[in-house]
Structure formats: C-alpha cells, structure tokens
Symmetry: C2
Subunit: 427 residues, 2 copies
C-alpha cells in the first residue's frame, strides 16, 4: 500500500472511532470545550500570527494577488471573529438527541424520529484559515468528527489553529481525533480520502468551481455542494415599481462577489417600460455593465434611454454565467411561464426572487421554481444561514436531497427512526 493511501486510511479510521465515542459527550461538555477553545485562540494569537506570517511570506514570494493575500491573512479582527463564532456556536441549542413526531400507532408501538450526528465529515477548502475553526466548531457541536483538509497555502496557519483544538480536546477528555487536520499537502491525499466511503459519510468542499468539480468527479462519498450561484430576480407585471428597483439594486450591488448576488434580471413585458429605464440608469451610475436581450434593447430605445450606447447585447453564454462581478444580464419575458422556464434552463438552483403584489403569482412562483431558496419581494442577498436564523453556516447546498440551501447545525445531523413499546410483537 502506498504511503498516501495508508495515511488516508489512518485519518478515516481515526475519525470513525472518534465519531462512535462522541455519542456519549454531553451538551454542556461540548459547549465548555468550544468556549475554552475561544479563550485559547485569543491567548495564543501570537503563535497563530507567526504561522500565518510564514504562509503570507510564501504567498508573496509566489506573487499571489492582493485578493489572495486578503483571504489568507489573519488579523486581530479575524481572531475576534473566530472567537465570536465559537461563542455563538456554543450558545446555540444542541440539535443532537431531539425526538420529534413521536406517536402511538394502532399496534401500540410508539414511533418517532431522533436527530443524530451524520458521523464523519471531510472538509476540503482553500486559503481562508478561519474555515478551520468554523467547520471544526460546527461539527464538534453536532457530535460529528471532521477531517480538515485546507490548502497548502495556509498550512502553517491551519496547524497553529488545529493545535489549539487538539490540546483543548485532550484536556477535556473529548477524543482528539474528533478534529483531525491533514498536514500532508500532497494533492493525491485528497483523491485517496475521497475513496473511503466506509469511513467518511459526507464531503463538504469550499472554494472555486474547479476544485468542487474535481472533488465531485473523484468522490465515492456524497458531496454537499453548490457549483454556481446564477441567481434571478423576476419583476412580475404586478410588481410595485419601487420594490422592483430596490430589490434589483440590492440583489446586484450590495456585494458583487457572493454566490447569492443577482446575475440575471427577468422583466415582464407589461411592466418593462415602467421599470427598465430607471433600473438601467441606476446600474450604470454604480458602474455595473449591462447586457440585454434584443427586446430589452428595443424597449430602451423606444423610451429614448439616454445612455443606450453603453448597453451591450447579451448572448446565450451570458444567461449561463455567474459573473461574480459588476455585470448584469437582463431579459424581457412575455409571462411568468417564460421566466420560470428561463430559470430552469439557465439557473443553478440557488436562489430566485419574484417581485409582485399579486398573491396567486407569488404562490405559483414559490411552488414552481425548483431552487434551494425561492423568495417573494425580497433581495436574493438574504440567502444565508445567519439571515435564515440558523445561527451558523457551513456552506450552501444546491443538492436536491438532504441539506438544501444554507446548511447550519441541522444540516450536519440526520434523523433515524426510534420505536418503543412494552414488548410488542407482530401478528
């Protein structure tokens, strides 16, 4: 057996063993450990900064761009945010062991569901070292064990952070292998880990699209992921004009580079003349490039839109693109059916919002659009675990099954059936 395979197997087996011991760790103990880790991070921040400096040095030598260095750098503020996150996870209710829907059946047996940990989670991520702390905190709280596999570019930062977890878990008699860090940075180790469906229950990748595609392709284990966030706002014929403008502008420009940012605006033909000129004016003022369908261009031209020459024509490729940038594509549609059909053809099942005052259209949109989040009169920027009241977020999923949309504590649990009776047998 080659060395990497051996290492992967060791990580997998260690995690599985830790996972079966985590069942007996009490809520108060988990919360104490999380709070203690927060203290230790604050106290040992010098060590963390030292590790991080090593990573930053390597990155600068490799001429990485400023966005890269930004993601990699640990500042006093990031230390503060990590500690806050740990305190917050500690104060959330423990979902493990909760029993729901317990009901007596005609045979006399009582049947219900119990929330339990999923088991072993493999987290694969790039640059941001805070993921090390956030992910470990969420999995510890939910009684899962985790294998952390950060990028080689942040290895020294991750080692410094993981050391604090290791020491504290040991001190509090929680299995140290509940939180393991893969320190070997050879890429082939990931390939070996992705084959261990016997020891690892789910994989959560965080990073660029190519990373996530590669993992999905190589993995024998179920992957919780989203590839794209091609989010849509549909302005219905019965939209309130001010709401249409506000929601469009907020969805597109409040932050440009997030997965819940608006990428394509769909406008009903019957309200296009009343809304498009103002929206386009405001977008151009915010330096957002606009790419439109022929009909939209025609409408703007008929309305004598002053900056028409600044507006480009969209191609089919635009409808399928997540710009993550100051660009918006706009399409005028004949009816809601056309909007929904456009979303189902080009969308990424992430988040779509309708702007309408009409109850029937709102309910139809909610029912028919097959995305992880579907909204009425709301900015797509709200698609976020904290905004949804989950208290935490380990990622966003556009999978259809299990966790869909923002994944918080509950997405790291599963439900099993429990049955109790006084000796019932079946006839």
């Amino acid at each position: 057996m080659n060395k990497l395979r051996e290492l992967a197997l060791k990580l997998g087996k260690n995690s599985r063993n830790a996972s079966s011991q985590l069942h007996s760790i009490k809520t108060v103990q988990k919360n104490d450990v999380l709070r203690r880790i927060s203290d230790c991070i604050e106290k040992n921040k010098i060590n963390i900064f030292q590790g991080n400096l090593l990573d930053l040095k390597v990155a600068k030598k490799a001429n990485k761009d400023s966005a890269f260095l930004d993601r990699l750098e640990i500042t006093n503020k990031s230390i503060h945010d990590m500690c806050n996150g740990l305190e917050q996870v500690a104060s959330l209710p423990d979902p493990i062991g909760t029993i729901s829907n317990l009901m007596e059946q005609p045979s006399g047996i009582k049947v219900g569901n119990m929330n339990v940990p999923i088991g072993v989670i493999l987290m694969i991520y790039e640059s941001r070292p805070n993921v090390t702390v956030d992910a470990a905190a969420l999995t510890l709280k939910t009684g899962n064990s985790i294998i952390l596999r950060g990028g080689s570019e942040s290895i020294n930062s991750n080692v410094a952070l993981h050391t604090i977890f290791y020491d504290t878990l040991k001190k509090y008699n929680v299995p140290v292998n509940s939180v393991q860090l893969a320190k070997e940075t050879n890429r082939d180790l990931v390939k070996e880990l992705l084959l261990l469906d016997k020891y690892i229950d789910i994989v959560i990748p965080r990073g660029g699209k190519s990373l996530i595609e590669r993992i999905s392709k190589d993995s024998k284990i179920q992957v919780i992921k989203h590839l794209d966030g091609i989010c849509h706002v549909y302005i219905d014929e019965f939209a309130d004009k001010k709401r249409a403008v506000d929601i469009t502008m907020n969805s597109k420009t409040q932050r440009l580079g997030t997965c819940n940012t608006l990428e394509t605006l769909l406008v009903n033909r019957k309200i296009a003349e009343k809304t498009l000129p103002l929206i386009c004016k405001l977008l151009l003022e915010k330096n957002v490039e606009i790419r439109v369908c022929k009909l939209t261009k025609q409408i703007l031209s008929e309305k004598k839109f002053p900056a028409l020459r600044k507006i480009k024509t969209a191609t089919n490729k635009d409808w399928a693109t997540e710009y993550l940038d100051a660009i918006l594509s706009i399409k005028t549609v004949a009816c809601m059916d056309e909007a929904i059909s456009h979303i189902s053809t080009y969308g990424s099942s992430h988040t779509e919002s309708i702007v309408t005052e009409n109850h029937e259209n709102a309910m139809n949109f909610l029912r028919r659009v097959d995305s992880s989040s579907v909204m009425v009169n709301t900015s797509t920027r709200f698609a976020d675990g904290f905004q949804y009241g989950l208290g935490a977020e380990i990622g966003i999923s556009t999978n259809k099954l299990h966790a869909r949309g923002p994944v918080g504590l509950e997405g790291l649990t599963t439900k099993k059936w429990i049955v109790m009776s006084d000796g019932q047998v079946r006839y």
Copy 2:
C-alpha cells in the same frame, strides 16, 4: 449515438418535462386519477391476466422455481390489493406544498420550508408486477414523474398495467409522461439510464442484493437502497425474561424471509443462563437452526441443555450473514458496549432492538446505535412503513442521508427554503 442511449435520453427528457408540468396539478385531480385507475384495473383485469399469462408461460418454459412463479403471478387477490393500495394512497394527505417552520427573522424577512417533489424517479425492480402500480401511485401522489423499469420476466404484465395509467392520465389531462414504462428489456438500457443525472434525480432499486450492488456501482445518480437486513436483538442484563423470549421468537419466526427479520441475537452474560435455554428450546421446536459463539455453547452445556448436539458453532461469517432463512446466530456479550460494537462491526444499519427494563440503558441504546430504526422492547418485524403509520412504503433505505428506514410519501419529497417580505433589502 447508439439506439439505447437515444431511448434512455428520450425517457429522461420526457420525464423531466412531465415533472415540471406536474407542479400545477391539484391534489383533488391527483386523487381522482388514482381512484379512476383503481376502477380501470378492476374493470380491465382480463387484459391484465392475459399479459400475465404470457409471462407465466415463458417463466414455466424456463423452469423457474415456484417462489419465482408466485412472485410473478397476478391473481384476483393481487388485483384487489393493487386497487386497495391506490385507494389508500388517494386518501392520504398530500405532502406537496406544505409549509413548515415559517418564522420572522430580525431583518423582517419570513423564512420557512416548503415540501416539494424531488423531480424524476427511476424505479428498477424484479418480477413482482404490483410494484408497477404501487410505485406509480406513490410518485403521482407526490408530484414526481417516474420511469418504471421492471424485469423482462414480467414485461407483458407491466405493459398491461401501464396502459391503464397511460389512458387515464391522458383522459384527465395529466402529462402522460409522468408515468413511463421502459418497454425495451435490454439490460444495457439500465446502464444508459443510470448516467442521466441531468434528467433523473433518484434511483430506487427493488430486488436481490446483486441487482442493487450492480446499480449502485453503475449509477451517477443517487440511489435510495438497502443491501442487507442483518437485524439484531440485544437482551440486556435488565431484560424482562418473558419479553426477551417473545421478542426474539417473533423477530425471528413471524416471517423468515423479510429484511426486518432477526438474524443475530446478542445476550448479556448476566442474563444468559436465565434466558438462553428456553429461547434455544423454542427455536429448535420451530425448526430454526442455531449457531452460537463458544461462550453461549459453554453456558448451554453448564445448564445441561438437552439438545446441545443440535446446536452448531458460529463462525465470523455467520455474524455478517443475512440468512433470510430458518437460521439464527447467537452471541453472548459481556456488556452493552460489546453488543453495540458487534452491531457496528457486523450490522447493516437496518434495525436493532434492545430488551431492557432499565431506562438509562434503553436511552443509551437508542442514542448510540447507528441504524435506520432503533427499538426498545419491540419486535424488529415492526420496521415497516405501514406499521410506522406512513400509509405506504416505496422501499427501505439504509442510507444515512435523506430517507432513512421505511420510505413513504415524505421520502419522495424534499424541502426548499421560501422567503417572503415586503420588499426587504440587505444592509
């Protein structure tokens, strides 16, 4: 493109289209169609019998055994059961569109979950033609479209049954492609279908272990399945003796060939002398072969068990075997930890039951055993969708995520996030 690939693609695309139209079919319409199909099956049973006779003729010519012919044959009783099943599914509440956990968040947005269809389901099954009707009814009720792929041995029966669905769907203006039957019996068609993750959302196989293993290996689509049902009863040191005997006997002998039948009995050392002799006596009376660990044999010998020579010694292979037959393996364990560790090593995550009067042990067993159903003082034979009050069952899943255990209507749905507000934007 080869012919089978073309056919698979056509089935997939048809189903996806039908699925997007099913969103607008109302509950009452779905129920009417289900009841109407029940009427038509009863009225057209001559056609069904004729198709079935063709299949039986082929099977007899091929010298299939009586169990095979039994599963294949459609009788007046099976017609009656299918019709009953349809009426029952029609009378169950429609899970689609239900909204749960709708709560207002501090930002003013209202966030909740809506139950929606999964989309397109591929059902692959062997011999029993009633699966055609049961599966189509459950998917229709939950707004999913289905591709039915029965075995070649029942193709004429399946065509006769499917014709009734086709005609009724057409008459009631429900997309006929909601229920498609793959009439091509070439096995390679299944391989092509299993690659269409763009058009098919889940695969549910029903049949022998080798079929299910093959499908899991070939599928790019998520498979809802269970491979084995190696179920355990653990008799705790604080067990009531009568309950221990009754639950063991019922779990093992009420039906021998089902997936929720007991295969390995675990007995706490401290209660072994008091329970094993009676249990073994009753098992032998019912002609159940017994295979035991060394310690169990020693205990029986010390208690001067009269038929000791009839009792065999178990090997490690026994612990990992689903007999589906009149055989039971028995192991005496030192404590509950050993029982749970045995279950996690050799079990199949299907169903395990503890017999105990001790509250703490009962709760620990419920929490710690990582199976789809975990029971206290209850026969494993209750692990069944109807017994759990689901009103229907499309299969049993030992997957950890999404549907776990018996899968009813809710297992054919998924939850998306819905968000409503009065024009909320994010700051």
